[in-house]
């Protein structure tokens, strides 16, 4: 089941130039900056309530974000929904006709399992389903003393 909006990803040319907007004009606090080598992006996260704003800056000309910026310019790139059962939610989306960019989950920022649905099957919205981050997951009974 989808539990909440986990994050909203914005494609930007430069995190350094964009964070001024989120920090000074909107008053948010940057939580962390992280490079995701597999996606060729640098990311910056701003927490807001139960969700996060994620700025995405390309680190290579062939990064998917670089191609997005070239085609569409800066703007909203994707919506990430947090799931408490990623495999089941992904299977339901597929069974209901969604095209999966990742038929099997891959590893995203923070080491979480994620998968994208293709925007041509979701009315133009690049849609990510992701598991809860480690800090948000219920404790594993095996870890209890």
């Amino acid at each position: 089941m989808l539990k909440k909006i986990d994050h909203i990803g914005f494609a930007v040319h430069s995190i350094a130039r964009t964070r001024v907007l989120y920090e000074e004009a909107l008053g948010l606090v940057c939580e962390r900056v992280e490079e995701v080598a597999a996606q060729k992006v640098r990311t910056a996260f701003f927490r807001l309530g139960e969700t996060r704003i994620e700025l995405l800056e390309p680190t290579a000309p062939d990064s998917p974000i670089a191609r997005f910026l070239e085609k569409r310019g800066e703007g909203i790139h994707h919506i990430g929904y947090q799931s408490d059962d990623l495999d089941r939610d992904l299977a339901r989306a597929r069974d209901q006709g969604c095209t999966l960019i990742n038929p099997e989950p891959v590893t995203g920022a923070g080491g979480r399992r994620i998968a994208f649905l293709h925007p041509r099957s979701t009315h133009g919205v690049l849609t990510e389903l992701c598991e809860a981050g480690r800090a948000e997951q219920p404790p594993d009974p095996e870890d209890q003393p």
Copy 2:
């Protein structure tokens, strides 16, 4: 201060054709459908955690959503941030260089005061600031017995 993502607005050709995706493929529940005559749109809200997905369907060819669809096709239209002091948050955004589409708040869906920031001043993201809905606002002491 901004408290949370209030809603995310998606521009769609038809709520009837799009709600299947959110209901069947993603498992969300439609809360209400409402027409906002001033904006020439029909809206459908799906609650998810503390935020909402808002589908926006034009009700006239000169609706801002109709123009968006013509230019960009279906997709993410805007992000709405909930503020506990709309006038102050709007003034700060303006003072920090944001261009206000609504220098004074206007009335949006649900009768709330809202104001938009222009995407050319927010790195391509059409940004809405809005007050809490009536049900979410702290009780007015005058209303107490």
